[in-house]
């Protein structure tokens, strides 16, 4: 979706302002928000893609007015509501008022190390051959899906070059919406800055994205 998350090339946000000796967390609640988000994800009710879509579906004013852990917290509340684990009156009162949906699993402390070490690999084996090979010229599709996509606006409708074929990966555009993993070939596609930004682009700059095959047409 053309949401607030799609930031590449936007202007007006000011300097980066890295913080010297930045602490890992800026408040104690951020630690809990991190842990709760990962623990809830481990229930297996939603995917990373659905999580990302939920975060980017926050109203733009809310998204831009929130720190990243605030975005995570607001999104985890929505995910829990959508999947029937909690109800609004529970969130507003801060109390369990009734039983809700039951998860496939609950992450226990003893299993945390193994779960984090395992992660959630997204590569898959597919039977169809890749359409492109390194060196091929391609053009990204000019699309504006209302659902989740990982093709940023700045990289749509652009001429680029396949730099590497990465194998097949779960397709976020379907997976985020419960429409299956639909794994497809993934490529690193590189663009000259001039082909993205046009006049005045940095002549020394190239930008790459990792793009699924269905984002690409031969050029």
């Amino acid at each position: 979706m053309n949401g607030p998350q799609d930031l590449g090339g936007q202007m007006g946000f000011g300097p980066v302002a890295p913080e010297a000796d930045e602490p890992l967390f800026h408040a104690a609640w951020e630690k809990r928000a991190l842990g709760i988000t990962i623990a809830c994800g481990a229930m297996g009710a939603w995917s990373i893609d659905e999580s990302r879509f939920t975060r980017e579906s926050l109203h733009p004013l809310d998204y831009y007015g929130s720190s990243y852990y605030e975005i995570w917290t607001k999104a985890i509340e929505r995910l829990l509501l959508r999947h029937g684990f909690v109800d609004r009156d529970e969130l507003s009162t801060g109390q369990k008022l009734r039983d809700g949906a039951r998860p496939k699993r609950v992450l226990k402390a003893d299993d945390v190390a193994a779960a984090l070490a395992r992660g959630t690999p997204a590569d898959r084996t597919v039977s169809h051959a890749p359409r492109f090979v390194a060196g091929d010229k391609v053009r990204t599709r000019l699309i504006h899906p209302e659902g989740h996509t990982r093709l940023p606006r700045y990289a749509r409708g652009r001429a680029g070059r396949i730099e590497a074929a990465r194998g097949a990966f779960v397709f976020p555009d379907t997976h985020a919406h419960g429409a299956g993993e639909a794994p497809d070939h993934l490529y690193t596609v590189v663009f000259s800055a001039a082909d993205i930004w046009g006049e005045g682009a940095d002549p020394t700059l190239e930008v790459s994205v990792d793009a699924w095959e269905s984002y690409l047409d031969p050029a």
């Binding site: 998350q5 590449g8 090339g9 202007m11 946000f13 000011g14 300097p15 980066v16 302002a17 930045e22 890992l24 800026h26 408040a27 104690a28 609640w29 951020e30 630690k31 991190l34 842990g35 709760i36 990962i38 623990a39 229930m43 990302r52 980017e56 831009y64 007015g65 929130s66 720190s67 990243y68 605030e70 917290t73 909690v86 529970e90 801060g94 109390q95 369990k96 609950v106 992450l107 402390a109 299993d111 945390v112 779960a115 070490a117 395992r118 992660g119 997204a122 590569d123 940023p152 990289a155 990465r166 990966f169 993934l186 940095d202 020394t204 190239e206 930008v207 790459s208 990792d210 793009a211």
Partner: protein, 217 residues
């Protein structure tokens, strides 16, 4: 120091003032309520939440990535492996897992400087760098890294030669990128243990350079 008011938790940000643990502001109350409900419903185990936090506070952080880089600098065969199959080469040092399942290592050269960003969210190689800093997740960096990387780098004090190529990697899929900075001069003959402390987090994102020992620049 200039601060974008939205780059930190504006409601919950007390980290710079040293009293972050005793504030029960809006976000603290909201997260506490959420944890209480989830715990009472048996959906999360608070001890598991503790274990997750402890992992990223004590075990998974940029020292992991620094050891990867230092080994690549001091062991050409390892550097080749890292170039060909970063996931396996990094796993061999014991660093694997969440947000590092599919790794790519990109090597800075005298011709090309690499910079990593996630314009769409906050994708970052947790297994080697730990949790991302606030600036990496915030709109100023995510918006400008792909259009004005030299301007961004200048804000980190990094000025590249005008003819140095810049390659920006936007992490739009599940591949996670680790920049292998150039080994600084003055470290000839150093082994990996001696090299690793020189390698900064920012240099492995591409937002910094590794300086020669004794050089404070």
């Amino acid at each position: 120091m200039p601060h974008d008011p939205h780059s930190h938790g504006h409601a919950g940000d007390h980290g710079n003032h040293g009293h972050s643990d005793n504030e029960l502001d809006g976000m603290a109350a909201r997260v506490k309520a959420l944890e209480t409900i989830l715990t009472d419903k048996g959906l999360i185990d608070p001890a598991a939440v503790d274990a997750i936090i402890e992992t990223y506070e004590t075990r998974v952080g940029p020292r992991n990535g620094a050891r990867v880089v230092a080994k690549a600098w001091s062991d050409p065969a390892y550097a080749d492996w890292l170039k060909q199959d970063a996931t396996a080469a990094i796993d061999a040092l014991g660093y694997s897992g969440r947000q590092g399942e599919h790794m790519q290592a990109v090597f800075n050269t005298p011709e090309t400087h690499n910079l990593v960003v996630c314009t769409l969210c906050s994708c970052y190689p947790w297994s080697v760098l730990g949790l991302p800093p606030v600036w990496y997740k915030s709109p100023p960096y995510r918006s400008r890294a792909v259009i004005d990387p030299r301007g961004v780098l200048a804000e980190f004090g990094v000025v590249l030669a005008a003819d140095r190529k810049i390659r920006v990697w936007d992490s739009t899929a599940e591949l996670r990128y680790l920049v292998v900075p150039m080994r600084p001069s003055g470290t000839e003959g150093w082994d990996a243990d001696a090299l690793a402390p020189l390698v900064t987090r920012d240099s492995m994102i591409g937002a910094g350079l590794v300086h020669s020992p004794g050089d404070d620049a």
